[in-house]
Each structure stands twice: as structure tokens, then as C-alpha cells.
Symmetry: D2
Subunit: 347 residues, 4 copies
């Protein structure tokens, strides 16, 4: 692409908004021309995130003030629910990557069940492409609206979907025990997100009922060709970034942990952002921190005939803003890794 | 008990040793009369752990220097393997609470399989009582040698053993996804224990093969009356103390998550140190930090007919030194909670 | 004291409130008979702080619902400013330990300068005793209202006041570089207190202007017998508890670092809660975590003729609720260490 | 430069070595052709630092195995002392950026005083250029051997040297209270670096005597034109990366905090990597994490006639490997920011 794509970021004062700025500012093919943050309109990005002091960035404005005529593509990092109302008003020439959960579920009834109200933008929902890049890049390339997947669900679907598609595991025996860093909760002011409530301890939340289940069930059911309900338990780790999924699986007749490893390794053999470790090795979240990579490991379970799969990603990058940029690259016909080649910040 | 029990702590320079001193120093019925630390012999406990500055404590000496005649009961917090050689030499009048793994497995063949060599103190092993206090207090009261259980296994056995005994869960469908703080690794100098290797990240270790499995299998098999192998995966959390177990279970015909909750609640109704939360509530490790308590929660899984149980404890207290003191109290005929009534240090 | 003192805690849902409950629940001479938390009235302490599940504690009520006739002594852990209005209404038979800053400054003009408004309870202010226990225990014993000192100021005054009283340091050359854990900011919902804003980083705040300066200046000026203004910079450390003060001093003619050490050591020779390390040794916050102790160290500065003093305490204990209980013990004629003998929780 | 510079990294298995690889791997003008790690020779970089899995990197070899003929420039990240012996053997055609302390002190007597032995490579020492890039870029451009400065000293010299050169502060009244993340201690196996010894607490070390003082005194004395000894106290913060310096200064006649701010701002007006905040604003370490930036703030002290300056940098980047790459860019005639433009990873 020879021209520069003009970018707006809605909801720039949140963590995924800041992460988009971090990644897009150095992207050679785009220019950030608008940043919105309704409650902080009138201030600068550097006041909200001082790491950006001295950069050439547009001021924070209210969404209503946007001049859409100068915008080619918008990243929407708004809270769930408000997103629907806002995106309905975006002019047709503007392509959209939405980081909220509002357009991830294709079934309006599923949306209504999990979110407690009818969807307010059904027409848009119908055209949205669910965007795990590795699984849907052709559709993403042509999409006007990409629903960027959730962090937990990306970390669960990348390793499991290929196994379900291959018929290599029992769809009724999937346990995903997931652990997330605290940025997953965003920058919202809730007591549960205070430093002293999170540090030096560990807990589960949403046990038996968490909205990300809907997305997992949608992806797994599509892959298996029949309804699939996995066990899924999210936990909060005292760390800023990272998701770790420990996945307990029951290979089907003729399969074992080793063959599951082979299926996953073959499925991602050509992928830049997915690395499958040698059999029996397992990743750490810190090895992908700040990057768009997903690392996957597979082992035998000690229980005969079972397997354990682990996967890690950075919830703000491959789990949110990085995959959003990867999807944008895909939409613009750019190499997917453009501006996403940073190596992990460890230690 | 009217007289004071004279206590020695072997291996006082490690974390479980320090924790024993923290708990025993204020115990009204005992007096610490000897502390050993072979590599630090000649120095003081306050030099090794400055929080003890100003306390009246015996100097650190080598084990060989001990005068056993003045000792009634010894806590052994030595590394695995060396323990066997040392404990063989303890005179018969001295009762023993051993915090190592050396005497936890009652089957010599199982010991040899998991530890790679024959047991060197088979006679002692034969008389050792495996000491989850709530499950074995009568035997503990009379024991000369109590094998104090592991942290992971205490946190797994307390909630699951009652369910296996009641026949309420399928023994072949137990998944224990366990997460531990870093004190579980002790004070040993390994790269994996360095601050920068642990902080701000998360990982699994020993996937598919970890020595604590042997202890879990022993306890579960005894409870079920037949061999049981659970899935068990330990993970390292960037926190000092605490174990969190997320346990996925399949209730048997006639049972569901609610009835599992009832069984557990009834089993621990009279117990001071085990608290079962209301159905659907789940604990945090921070709520038991520094205490000898175990908190247990039970929920429905979203998968029909399955249940999720969570449990937390402080690995240095109920998972090691606290249960050791509880066992000592039991051996001495004292109220079990003596010197163990502290409330959690949170925040 | 043969009777039990009946205690109310106002503001029990904050961190200092919870810490008071932790310490008082096991105190042999008191009973908590009332807990207030206006916004959480109607719920239980265990709902707000699950570590208290199963304890016998009164429900959380609004202050207006209190029956003062059954209360002998009240701990007030309310936010600054509201405290004045509330304490004016406390009946005369109830003694008060106030943990806010509202009654710490004895000069109404100083209060008005630092807090931006006239004091609303001048009569009470006039009778309040400023309560660093080690410096004022006779007055505290007789006081009706004790103004419990701030955390930073306790950690600054304990080592420096004896030196000013002795004329051993230049009052114009005092630099206190102070570092605090995050509990110092309480449980209030501010963006700056979110986990992700605090972890894995370090910063100063209130540089050149912080309200605790007023308290330091008051204490130092009284000790020196003339106005003293120290440099004081607070910083936020990614830890829950602890204050560390690094203090740069200029000994007066005839004094050096060693003689400063001697003065401090002599001053606290008989004190249970203040420990002065050997010359050249320095403390860590973790060695006093969860305790009411203060540790102090003294070294030569490399600059000729200068000295460096360090001091640590737990801001929630000696810096707040622990000193409040120490003061209560003093007011009730009990041994000061009653219910405050716990050893540090380390690691 | 049209050709590719061939790079070796000595000591690649340490943290500064890994950081060099992170920065150099994506550098368009260099190629890493050799990595050494004597104790891990024979293994791969990805085995030592799994974040590098899948990258094209040479294997880890012993230094003795190096073929220097194919190397143009070497980064030496070896421990202090061994460095001298190794660098003496480097062929003359190879340029050197040394990250150890071995060549930082130009006075052999000062080296002998602080390190306890004579320098073993005096000829090399005589030609070494001390490399704070902003202060010495002309000499660096021509140097064969650049002594890369220490992290603490870079963070102290950047803000203070311009003030000393301007005669704007009293050289006898400099207090630098410095705080560092744990990566500053490297990956060495010392008890003090274990997670449980560092997390959730704070302490000072090397009080009154720390080797970085020598470097500060050298730089400050040169800037002032007479001997200068500052107070300098290093502290350890429970975080991985970052240095925060709080600097207490006494402006000379005719100067005040505001004029100090002006001097610093003017001095760094054209610098890419040094950002001076608006007067009264102060930086956080997290705002430069992973970057080569230094942020500086200046305020009035509450003490009349005094000033407080703060400065932050990432000790592994501007404090070590980043400044090393900046110096290499300078030596190669490349734009200094090449491969160093990443924005901070926050949150």
C-alpha cells in the first residue's frame, strides 16, 4: 500500500487504547489522526499516559466531535454495550476493528442470553467477521467490520479448534483452567482492581458463569459441528499482562497427546505469531510479554489416555490490540507482522 | 499439660524453619531449646532472619552438636533424602514431626518409584503416621513420628477425600489445577526462584509428572478403596504464600454440586481450621495468609452434571509449619488451635 | 483491668478498620461491640473482608445507629474532615483514639493552612493528645482523645526527635526520603491506586508539598525548640505494607554518626517496640510486616561529617492501627504490648 | 553505513546480554554473528531465554571458541574483573562496547581503591572513553573501546552534571537517594535476589559505601572542576526494571529550582532520549520501561532555597544495553535512535 491509512482510536484513555497507540505510532503505513476519550476530552494523551510525552499525537476529543471524512479506519476500544450505539453512526467508508465483545456473538439469541438485553445493532452484527486472524484471514481481508476476539477465547481457541476440527478430542471433556493478568480488567475504578486487593494473592472469579464462555462455545461448536460446552474457569494473577490456559483433554480413539501435538504443530507451521514448543515443553506468559505471539505446549497427562495442553499470550497484544493491528494489516493487504515484530520484554 | 515441652527445630534457616519459630515462640506450652542449620552453624537466627532480632532464641548449631537429652520433640525441616539418615539417629524418647516428603508414602515401592532410590529408614517409615490432622488425629495423638503432609496435597485432599469416601464423585474424573506461591520452593538458590524469573508472569511446571502426585494418589486411593489417579498440574504464582486448587469433578449418579457441598460442609462442621463457604462462593489465598485455615468453595460447572470445587491455604502454615504445630498440639494433648489463632494478614 | 472494655470501630470497612479488628479480636481485655461503615451498613464484616468469615463480630451499621451507652472507647478510622463532625457528637463518657489527621495539629492556623479550611471542632482539638506512645505515654494514659500519628511522621519522628532534643544535629539540614506501601492510600477508588498503575514501577508524589510535612514540622520544631522545616519526599513502592525512611543528617560540632547511634539507642533502650540495630546495619520493611515494631539503623555517610539514618515500620500497624491499640492499652493501664506481640510475617 | 556490522555478544546468558539481543536482533544495520556464555556453551539462546524461540541466532559458545576475524564489534557483558583479562585478547580490528565497570574509572588509583586490586589492563583503560552518549558523543564516535556507564550513575549524572558545569548548585550539598529494580543485580544466584527475599518489601543496601559512588564522584568532580562527594544511597524496589533518583540540591546564589530546571531543559533540548518534564512534574519508572529514554523533573523543595530533582530510566536499556546500542550507533555513524525507538510497555 503506497498511501497512508488514517486511523482513529475510540476510547484511547483505556489500556487497550494506549496499547493501540504504542503499536500504531511506529507503524510505517498508518497515521493516527484522531483519539477519543469522552470523559477526558480536552486533555492530551500524554496527560493520560505520560509514556507518550513528546510524541506527535492528536488531542483527546469526544466522539461527537470527530470529523469522519478524514478517517479511513477506526479502532473501537469502548466499553461493552455503548459500542453498538456508536458504531451504528460510523459512515460507510470507514472500516472498523471493534475490540469490545458487542459483535463477537453471531447469534442474536446468544447475545441476549449472555448480556441480558437485545442487541441494538443487528444489521452490523450480521456483517461482522469474528477475527482470530489465523482462522479467518480471507474473510477479515474483505470485512468492513471485524469483531476482535476476547483474550481468554483467543488463548483457548488457538490450541483447541484445530483438535476439534480434526475430531481428535472428545468435545464433552474439555477443561480450560485460565489465568489472566490484571490489565484484562481494564482501567475501571473497581475495588477488586486496587493494588492491595490483587497483589500477593490469587483467586478465581466468574466460576461456572463468565461471558467469555459464550465465545468459546460458539467457536468450539463451529469447529466440532455440534454443540460444545467446555468447563472454563478464569483466575486473576498478580501480574499486569498475560494469559495462561491449562487445558485438560481426552483424545479420541486412535489419538494421544503426541498426535494432538502433531495436529497443532502442523496447523500453525506457517504462522508467524503462533509457536508450538517441542512435545513436553510448556511456555511462560513472560516469554510473550509485549508481543503478538502465542506459545503452545503439549504433554501427556499422568491419567492414561489424557493430554494436557498449555497456551500463553499477552492479553493486551494478541488478546486485544495486537491482534487488532494484525487484523488491520490483513484488511489493508499489508504483511501481517508489520509493526508487530517486537520481541518480548523479559526480564 | 503443666510442663513445658522442649523443642528442637532441624533446618531452622529455611522458610519452614523460620515459620516454625514464628509460631512456636509465642506458644505457651513449649520452649525452643535448639535450632540447627548445618551451613550456618555458629551464627544466630536473627542473622539469618532479621525479623527475630532481640528474641531469646538458641544459637544455630550443627545437628551433630545437639544434646538430645534435653529435647522432647523435634521438628525436622530438612531437605528430602537427608531426612532419613538424620531421623534414624534420633533417640527413642524424642517425638518427631517431619516436614519433609521422606515419610509420607507408606508403600516402599511407591517411594522408590517417585524418588529414584530405596528408602533408607524402612523401620521408621513403617511407624510413621501421615498427618492431615482433621483426618487422623487419633493416630497422630499416639504417634512417635508424624509425616507432615505436603502443601499441594493438603489442599487437594481436604476437599476431595470426603467426596471419595462418600462415593459421591467419579474417581477417574478428577482434575486438580493447583497454583502455589513461591515459598513452596524454599530458600534454595535456583535460577528459577530469582525475583526476575518469577515476578509479573505465570507458568506451569512438572506438567504430567510431579512428586506430589504420589501423595495425592495414596490418599485418594485409600479414600476410594481402589486405585485413583487424578490429573494434577502445579503452577507458580508471583506471590510469596498461598495455594489455590481449582478442582473439576464429576458427581456420581444421584449427586450434584449442591450435594457435594453438603458432604464437605458436614464433614468439616466441627473443625476449627476448615471453613466451607456458602454454595457458589469461592475463596482467595489472601484471606488465609499467615493463618492455619483452609477455605473451601463449591459451584456448579456450566457443563451439565459437573462440579467445581476450590480450596485455599497458606502453604507455609496449614501446608507446612502450621499443620506441624497443629499435629504437635494433638500429640501433646493440647487444644489444636493453641498458638495458631492469628487472623489473616490482609491487606 | 478486670472488666472488659467495650469497643466501637468507626469506619470498619477501610484497611485501618480491618487492621483494628485483626488486632482487637484476640485482645484479652476488650470486646468489639460495634462496627460502623455508612456505605456498607446492613452487611457484615466478613462480606467486606472475607478473612473474618466465621468470627463473632457485630454487623456493620451506620454511625447514626450507634448506641453509645454500651461503648467505652471508640477507634475512629474515618476519612479526614468528616471526623471532626462525628467526634463532636461522641458522648463524654467515651474515650477516643482517632486515626485521622484531624486532631494531629495543635495549632489551628497550621491546620487551616494545610487543610484549606477552619477546624470545625476547636474545643476537641485543644484537648487532643498527639500520640506517639514512646514520647507521650503519660499524657496518653490520661487523655480522653488521642490523635494517633500518621505513618510517615511516626517513621520520621521516632529516630529524629531524640537527636533534635539532644542538639546533636543541625535542624536546617534534615532530608527525609520516605517510601510507602500502597495501603497507605487506603481502599479508596482512585486510578492511581489500581494494581496496574502501581505494580512493577516506582514514583514520588507530593514532591515539595505533602500534608504530612505539617506533622513533621510540628514534632521537629517542638523537639528543637525553634522552627524546623525538613525536606520530605514521599514515594510509592509496589508493596502492600511498610514505610522506609532514609534520613540524611548533619551532626553538630562534637557529634558524628556513631554518637547519633548512641543517642538513639539509649533513648529506646527500654522500649518494647523500637529496636535499634548495630551501627552500620539497616532494616528492611519486610522484617516488621504485620508487627508494631520500628527498626532503626545508623551509618556514616561517605560525605565527611554526615550521617545516614534509616527506619522502618508497618504503616498499618505502628503507623496506624497497632499504635492505636498501643495507645488504648496505655489509656486502659494495660501492658502496652498486649495483643501486639505477633512476629513478622516473612517471607 | 551500507555494509552490515557483524556483532558478537560476550556473556549473552545474563540479563544485559538478553537485552542486547532483544535490541540488536531487529537493528537494520547489524547482524549478531556470535554469542558466548562459557557455562552454557553448547546450548542455544532460546534454551536460556525462551522468548527467543524460533529466532535465527548463533549458538552459545565459549569465548575461547570465537573466530574474531568475522567480528567487527563486540559487546562485552561479562562480570566485573574477568572483563579485563578477556578484553586484552580482543584483536585490534574489533571495536568494543564494554558494559562492565572495569573501564569506567580513568584513575588507576581510584580503581584499585574501590575494587581492591590493581587494574590488569592499564593500556586499554587509558584509551577507554566513558560513554554517556549525550555528554561524549564525539569521543565515542572515534573510540575503539567505550566504557558503558553504570545504571545508577547515568541516572545521577544526566540531571546533575549540567548543573555542576553551570555552577548552579553547591557541590558539597548533593544527596542522591536512588532506587533500583532487581534486574540491576543480574541473574546471579544470591539469596538476596530470590523472589521471596525481594517481593513486597523495601530496603537500602551499600549504605555509605557502594562502588557506583566512584563513578559519580569522577563525573561530578570533572563537571565541577574540583573534588565532589555526593551522598548516595541505593535501594532495592520490588520491580524488575527501572531506576528512580530523588536528588536534593542547594542552588548557588542567584539560582533557584526554576533556574535549575531551565538549565537542564536547555542542555537536553535537542536530545532524542532525554525528556525534561514541565516544572513541578515528576516521572515514574513505568513510563520509560523497555525504552532508552530518561525523564527528568524539577520542583521547589519546601525548605527555602533548595530544589528537588527526580530522574528515571530503565536500568537494562538507558542504564545498560540500550545506551550500549546508542553508543554503537554513534561509533558506526548511524542515527543514534536506530533500533531504539520502542515506546514504553505500560501497563
Amino acid at each position: 500500500m503506497s498511501t497512508i491509512c488514517r486511523i482513529a482510536v475510540l476510547g484511547a484513555s483505556g489500556y487497550t487504547g494506549a496499547e493501540l497507540v504504542r503499536l500504531l505510532y511506529l507503524h510505517p503505513n498508518v497515521k493516527i489522526v484522531a483519539l477519543t476519550a469522552d470523559r477526558k476530552a480536552g486533555s492530551t494523551m500524554a496527560e493520560t499516559f505520560p509514556q507518550f510525552i513528546g510524541l506527535e499525537l492528536p488531542p483527546l476529543v469526544a466522539i461527537a466531535e470527530l470529523d469522519w471524512s478524514g478517517i479511513d479506519l477506526v479502532f473501537c476500544a469502548l466499553p461493552h454495550a455503548t459500542t453498538q450505539e456508536v458504531l451504528k453512526t460510523v459512515p460507510a467508508h470507514v472500516r472498523i476493528v471493534d475490540l469490545s465483545a458487542d459483535f463477537r456473538l453471531s447469534d442474536p439469541a446468544a447475545y441476549a442470553y449472555w448480556y441480558g438485553h437485545e442487541h441494538h445493532a443487528l444489521a452490523l452484527q450480521a456483517e461482522a467477521v469474528y477475527g482470530i486472524t489465523e482462522f479467518a484471514r480471507d474473510a477479515i481481508a474483505k470485512a468492513r467490520l471485524v469483531a476482535n476476539p476476547g483474550c481468554y477465547t483467543t488463548c483457548g481457541q488457538l490450541p483447541v479448534v484445530p483438535l476439534l476440527e480434526a475430531g481428535a478430542i472428545d468435545p464433552d471433556e474439555i477443561v480450560i483452567d485460565a489465568k489472566s493478568g490484571v490489565t484484562g480488567a481494564g482501567r475501571s475504578l473497581r475495588e477488586a482492581n486496587l493494588y492491595c486487593e490483587v497483589t500477593d494473592g490469587f483467586h478465581a472469579y466468574g466460576v461456572g458463569h463468565h461471558r467469555h464462555m459464550a465465545e468459546l462455545e460458539q467457536g468450539f461448536s463451529a469447529a466440532a459441528g455440534r454443540p460444545v460446552i467446555p468447563a472454563f474457569t478464569p483466575h486473576l494473577v498478580p501480574m499486569s499482562r498475560g494469559i495462561f490456559s491449562t487445558i485438560y483433554l481426552k483424545p479420541t480413539e486412535g489419538h494421544d497427546a503426541k498426535s494432538l501435538h502433531d495436529i497443532i504443530a502442523r496447523r500453525f507451521a506457517g504462522e508467524y505469531f503462533v509457536k508450538v514448543l517441542t512435545f513436553g515443553s510448556h511456555p511462560q506468559t513472560r516469554h510473550v510479554k509485549g508481543t503478538n505471539f502465542t506459545f503452545i505446549g503439549v504433554s501427556n497427562d499422568r491419567r492414561p489416555g489424557r493430554a494436557i495442553v498449555t497456551a500463553v499470550l499477552d492479553n493486551l497484544v494478541k488478546g486485544a490490540s495486537g491482534q487488532a493491528v494484525q487484523n488491520m494489516n490483513c484488511m489493508l493487504g499489508l504483511p501481517e507482522q508489520t509493526a508487530l515484530e517486537q520481541l518480548a520484554l523479559f526480564p
